[in-house]
Symmetry: C2
Subunit: 110 residues, 2 copies
């Protein structure tokens, strides 16, 4: 993962919000991410696939749900970049977390 690759990943509102939310909340499934961001399923899924292909995310299937989280072996400089964005987006991030909390019927799985 090069810096340019990471910056391309984060240079899109949807992908940045996905990454910041997972950084704050830990692993989340696709339907939780859809609810928190208020975006369509194909849109979320497409961006998640892109982030996974770059090595930024890890995915795990549990039953019918697929959980994504920040890849645990991300290099330190990449984590620092995400942390800096978290600081800059503190307000919008807490709004995302509220939307997630407000989601009805969050899957409780495994």
């Amino acid at each position: 993962m090069t810096p340019v690759q990471l910056f391309k990943c984060l240079a899109d509102e949807t992908r940045l919000r996905l990454v910041l939310l997972m950084q704050a909340e830990g692993e989340l499934c696709v339907c939780e991410l859809m609810a928190a961001l208020g975006e369509s399923q194909p849109k979320i899924s497409r961006h998640l696939a892109q982030l996974r292909n770059c090595g930024l995310l890890q995915d795990t299937r549990r039953g019918q749900w697929v959980y994504y989280n920040i890849h645990p072996s991300l290099p330190g400089w990449a984590s620092s970049v995400i942390d800096s964005a978290t600081n800059a987006e503190a307000g919008r991030l807490s709004a995302l977390r509220s939307s997630l909390k407000a989601m009805a019927d969050r899957p409780v799985c495994c």
Copy 2:
């Protein structure tokens, strides 16, 4: 300047190299940046204009030369992002600095 705007700026090899080199060396003029990166004048100039329009760079004309540097009032989170990229690109950055040092007839101005 939002995080997505910054990441778009840094999501291109040429622009990232420009920013890292100026972060390391302080202000540089267009011809120095051309020599260090080995890229054409219009290409360098176009990317510099883009970085200036985003608020990432500041420019000053001194005689026939235009000097660019990292904008002094860049928010802290943005500087941190650039620092993280500097850490990740240490090798390529020092190569850039060598090319700059090897440039003949660097303008000594004002």
